[in-house]
């Protein structure tokens, strides 16, 4: 096992560089994961907020006063002058997110059972606006119903009825397992971040190893020895496998040590499996790069460019939801993206049936496909180099 031992000695010689990466990566990961978890828990507790609304009322009737009262429950009223420029400025500078104009004759039309259109100007895609719309619709629909059902109903009585109806609320209890949510969040974050560290370690380690073994003088010298190529390659592949599994194991144990206080569940096991699949893929990238680089000085630079690049576009550092569609389209041609996608899927799973697991398994298969492609490219490149 001379070649196997040699590989381990070469890797051991570079252990300091690899350890620096492990320590720095985990330090950063620990800080970021804890802050991310507290945010996640904060998000889980519900608190109602009020939107800013400008109400431009062209008549003053009990019906409009009633509507104003209802809206006051969910919105703050902001006084604005009824000038186009002032209204536009208020929307632009987010002083208000909703401007509602109640036209003259509004109450009369309601009381006559006619259709009425309220004029609104809003900031697009605002969640609070939907809530205001809902309240207005509820108020007007209920009013219409009363007018249709009770003949000659007065505005005061109508407002009274509406007030009673709309005061009725259904109590909703928001149940969130904070411990579970924190666990999923931290595990997800750590395992996503693992992509960066494991890629760096495997690219650095394996490309260094490949560079040594691609030295033509050493190749020729080894070829003079009574050691078959098959035996030589077998020992080399074994060393690569041991290094890959050891690196994954160390990183996985470190990840688990951070999340152990929340316990280990099925999600964790799937996250571990996904990270092992990704480690194989990272090893294939390292193997390919090792066949491409010609100088040891180029390895850290190439490793940084590849790991940082892949991590940034694939949602390792930035949540995938915040990335643009073009970036994600490009990222889908990288294994890191599918690793993160699988992790996110796993983290959101509560039921592990085949249908739910299908996207996870598909992502893992894509990563395996990438690994095979990279290994094949490296072998072709290696053969081409030997023939030269």
């Amino acid at each position: 096992m001379q070649v196997f031992k040699l590989c381990l000695k070469i890797l051991k010689k570079n252990i300091l560089t690899l350890l620096i990466y492990v320590i720095v990566f985990l330090g950063v990961a620990a800080i970021m994961a804890s802050s991310s978890a507290s945010e996640q828990v904060k998000d889980a507790s519900f608190k109602q907020s009020k939107a800013n609304i400008a109400l431009l009322c062209e008549e003053n009737t009990p019906l409009t006063a009633g509507l104003k009262q209802e809206l006051a429950k969910i919105a703050h009223f902001v006084e604005l002058s009824d000038k186009t420029e002032a209204l536009q400025d208020a929307l632009y500078f987010r002083t208000v997110s909703y401007i509602l104009r109640i036209p003259k004759g509004f109450s009369e039309k309601i009381m006559n059972g006619e259709q009425i259109q309220l004029q609104k100007t809003v900031i697009p895609n605002s969640f609070s606006n939907a809530y205001i719309d809902l309240t207005i619709d509820q108020y007007l629909n209920s009013a219409r119903l009363y007018v249709e059902q009770i003949e000659d109903i007065s505005q005061e009585s109508l407002v009274q009825y509406l007030k009673q109806d709309l005061a009725a609320n259904t109590a909703i209890e928001l149940k969130i397992n904070e411990k579970q949510a924190a666990h999923q969040s931290i595990s997800n974050y750590f395992f996503n971040y693992l992509a960066f560290s494991i890629l760096s370690i495997l690219i650095l380690g394996l490309s260094t190893l490949m560079l040594v073994f691609n030295n033509q003088d050493l190749q020729r010298r080894n070829a003079c020895a009574p050691l078959s190529t098959t035996n030589f390659n077998r020992q080399f592949v074994l060393a690569v496998l041991v290094f890959t599994v050891l690196s994954w194991l160390i990183m996985a144990v470190l990840c688990l040590s951070f999340t152990l206080k929340y316990g280990i569940n099925i999600n964790t096991l799937y996250l571990l499996l996904n990270s092992l699949v990704f480690a194989t893929c990272a090893a294939s990238i390292g193997y390919l790069i090792g066949n491409l680089v010609k100088s040891p000085n180029a390895i850290p630079a190439i490793s940084n460019v590849i790991t940082l690049g892949l991590s940034f576009i694939s949602g390792v550092f930035v949540p995938i939801e915040l990335l643009g569609s073009t970036v994600l389209k490009c990222a889908s041609f990288t294994p890191t993206y599918w690793f993160v996608i699988a992790n996110n899927h796993i983290a959101s799973l509560t039921n592990f049936n085949y249908t739910n697991l299908q996207p996870v398994l598909a992502s893992m298969l894509i990563q395996i496909g990438f690994a095979i492609a990279f290994f094949a490219a490296a072998l072709v490149l290696g053969k081409h180099r030997r023939l030269q």
């Binding site: 070469i10 040594v212 003088d217 020895a225 009574p226």
Partner: protein, 310 residues
């Protein structure tokens, strides 16, 4: 016979690197392969070691056909490559142990062999050093130790003294003689004729992939017509005297340049005496005078018409 090469032909596209090269290496000899850079020495060695595919020819080592899978043959061969081939990540001792381990699986025996090899090349005090900390000469010695640690029967050294200081060169040459004394057969390639003359029992001179002469150094020198070269320091020699000198029996050529008269004589005795007699008759004043026997460079020059180091 340890090595037998018959009609070896190797082409690199249009370039004929080895042109029907044949050689034999006998048990216990130091066989020198001498030729200028690019003459085909390393190509021949690489073919012998099955590191290169060749177009034509037969190679046998220890009576067996040499192939990349001839592991039993390879087990008894030690190789010292032209370029130093050691691992920078391993110490001197680890490097020797690694290469020795490719031939000797027994750990205890290997430990002894590694220590012996380290002592043999004089690297004892550097055994824990990494190659990058070694000088060029020490690195060459490490390269040799890696090649000979497993005590092979046949050692192939491909220009092991290139870019080595004189002290390390002498140490290496002494080492090779010692290995030979201990029973190893050696193939030694070089473009330094002095080294080859110093240690080789039989020499093959090759040029453009062809063997141009083979034999002991005495046999090679006997192949040429030149006898000795006489050099005389003299302040003044006229053209008439120079022509008279050229007409003397057994004188092949006489040239006067920068106050140095160089006379080349044909084989035979009393050449120096004839020249001295002529100087006395002509009353030519001279300073130093010395005579040299022909070198392998003269052999190469006479056969190929060019210097060995052209």
């Amino acid at each position: 016979m340890i090595v037998s090469v018959k009609n070896l032909v190797k082409r690199y596209d249009d370039i004929l690197a080895l042109d029907h090269l044949s050689l034999t290496v006998n048990d216990g000899e130091i066989f020198g392969l001498l030729g200028p850079n690019g003459s085909g020495k390393t190509t021949a060695i690489n073919c012998i070691l099955s590191l290169l595919k060749y177009d034509k020819g037969e190679i046998e080592i220890f009576g067996q056909s040499m192939r990349p899978e001839a592991y039993d043959v390879k087990r008894n061969i030690g190789v010292v490559m032209q370029n130093v081939a050691v691992y920078n990540e391993l110490t001197v001792q680890e490097n020797i142990d690694y290469f020795c381990g490719l031939y000797v699986p027994d750990k205890r025996l290997r430990k002894e062999l590694v220590t012996e090899a380290i002592d043999f090349v004089g690297l004892h005090e550097f055994s824990s050093y990494y190659p990058k900390k070694l000088s060029g000469g020490l690195l060459r010695r490490l390269n040799i130790a890696c090649g000979i640690a497993h005590k092979p029967k046949l050692i192939i050294l491909d220009e092991p003294t290139v870019a080595v200081d004189p002290q390390s060169r002498n140490k290496i040459l002494e080492g090779i003689l010692e290995l030979n004394k201990k029973g190893a057969t050696i193939i030694y390639t070089s473009h330094y004729m002095e080294e080859v003359e110093q240690i080789c029992s039989r020499i093959m001179i090759i040029d453009k992939g062809r063997a141009i002469a083979t034999g002991t150094k005495e046999e090679l020198k006997a192949m040429i017509t030149m006898g000795e070269k006489i050099t005389v320091e003299s302040q003044r020699i006229t053209e008439t005297q120079l022509n008279q000198l050229r007409r003397l029996p057994s004188i092949v050529s006489a040239d006067y340049k920068n106050k140095l008269l160089i006379i080349k004589s044909s084989k035979g005795s009393n050449n120096l005496e004839t020249v001295l007699e002529f100087f006395k008759t002509e009353n030519i004043q001279f300073g130093k005078i010395y005579s040299e026997l022909p070198t392998l460079n003269d052999v190469f020059l006479e056969i190929t018409g060019k210097q060995l180091r052209d």
